[in-house]
Point group: C2
Chain length 320, copies 2
């Protein structure tokens, strides 16, 4: 369930006018901007952006970019974008960074539905004049490239039919690759990037039944950090792929916990999860967060973050 609280009735023209007023004069009235945009769903934000363009002949995102700064600017601008366009921007930022944060690419490829991933690829092509696959291939090498290309290119079947024979067969394929530490990555990548999510979950379940341990706890992943080369990075990415398919909410709760534990806070990750999940399943993610943590996400955000940025995040968390 979503955490966002949005009114049933609203006026896109009034909202656009009030945002414009908040931007005029000396200093920006961030509180007004937050109180409006922090309580509008994707369709409403789209209509506000259209109204703003119509009335002021100016893109709302550009206006926000020039009025705001730092974490708040990034979070509000990402939030105001269409979800597919936002994912395209997040992916492109990740690919352009000096060190690729492949988590972002994996989340987009493995958590989104086939149609949503497709919308991201469409938005990416439109905005960057390249295909997403093209840029992922250019920015990566070796096994990581094979893995990321596989999942980004996927257009998975989304029905619920499961083939138990294939699940058993592929649970063994995955186990043999993991056990043999052969890193013969082709088969495992084929399985992870072509099978439907229900089929993959059946395979993961068979894995657990046969080997009495969850696949993400398989010994190979325990070696992570001991190997210390590119294999290590590949294994970490592989594990994230499995976790994003197996239980995205649990995965996101962990990302949030890590983000809040990082010295100085990993603001990119915190903002990304809240902005992309506030209209989806952030409520359940926050419950999982609370279960494994001594405090709720609202409490942690309230304690460790300040100013308007805190106010905006709390608005999206549904607790301002």
């Amino acid at each position: 369930m979503a955490t966002l609280i949005a009114p049933k009735y609203f006026s896109s023209v009034e909202d656009a006018e009030n945002i414009k007023k908040a931007c005029l004069g000396l200093g920006t009235d961030e509180k007004t901007i937050i109180s409006i945009l922090g309580h509008r769903n994707a369709t409403q934000r789209k209509l506000i952006r259209l109204a703003y363009e119509e009335i002021y002949n100016e893109d709302l995102i550009h206006q926000l970019n020039s009025e705001l700064s730092g974490d708040l600017e990034r979070a509000i601008c990402h939030w105001t974008l269409d979800p597919a366009d936002r994912d395209a921007v997040l992916a492109n930022n990740a690919l352009k960074a000096s060190t690729l944060d492949y988590r972002i690419i994996i989340e987009i490829a493995c958590v989104r539905s086939a149609e949503d991933l497709l919308a991201v690829k469409r938005a990416y092509r439109f905005r960057f004049k390249h295909s997403l696959e093209e840029d992922v291939a250019s920015c990566t090498t070796g096994d990581i490239r094979k893995l990321l290309m596989g999942i980004v290119s996927a257009y998975r079947y989304e029905g619920n039919e499961i083939n138990e024979t294939i699940a058993e067969l592929e649970a063994n394929i995955v186990h043999n690759e993991i056990k043999g530490k052969a890193f013969k990555t082709e088969e495992i990548i084929r399985v992870l990037s072509t099978r439907s999510k229900p089929q993959l979950n059946a395979t993961f379940n068979r894995y657990r039944d046969i080997h009495a341990t969850s696949i993400t706890k398989a010994s190979i992943f325990e070696f992570q950090g001991l190997i210390g080369d590119s294999t290590d990075e590949y294994l970490a990415a592989l594990r994230i792929v499995i976790r994003c398919i197996r239980d995205p909410k649990k995965y996101y709760a962990k990302v949030l916990r890590n983000a809040m534990k990082t010295v100085g806070i990993d603001g990119d990750a915190l903002s990304r999860v809240i902005v992309t999940r506030a209209e989806k399943d952030l409520k359940e993610i926050m419950e999982l967060y609370l279960k494994r943590n001594n405090a709720s996400l609202e409490e942690d955000v309230s304690r460790d973050i300040g100013g308007d940025y805190k106010a905006f995040l709390l608005a999206l968390l549904g607790s301002d």
Copy 2:
């Protein structure tokens, strides 16, 4: 340009009723069926199929399947399907066959536009409850699998922007792989499966400028048939990918010439090219056919094929 001749005005209900009449009683009136369906475009055929379903509570394709037989049955049924659905069926037939005719997969992946390929993948998922990628991966191995998976998964950028620096760089990458006979397939597959078609054509042009020979005439392809192992098959597939991207009409003209030259005629190929291109570019394909051949395609079909099947093919060729 299309070769199909379809009337501007038609009645889907009348057509459905006339087809039904042609199917009733002893023996089927193939001529009537051909005179109707052989002169209706994709939208019109769709409407006839809907009208037929509505009036007789029966799928027109099933009816045709039970009334017709052999080459004519296959050609008319394929023709009556929606183009994306037809490609899905062609791909699935190819994948189920004892020997995979990878030409069909390559044509669908490399000749169709990004949106059309996507429509095929959607139709495939809907009809076969698997993704196309999933089945391609299950039915293939080794380098052929890498190549086919790459092109089938593609969702290419379709703008006309070209980067000449990348074209030069990648012309060299391709040349080095070909020249070194290293078959280090990854880079060449990355280039062929992620770049836009205009970009790839720029790369092929640079290749020709630098090496004074067309890429499809590169020496490696001349060795084909001398190597005689799976490398041979991979090279053949690679060359088809390049030809389908570089000049699909020329490629199809060659497929037709080979089909007519084969002893007993390669009916699958002949029917596939005519059925899939009659509403697209069959006119130019036929001109190219004539240029390299002593007779026109109509003449060859008239001479070598008989009966109702000939009549149907000639209808699609626009010359009955």
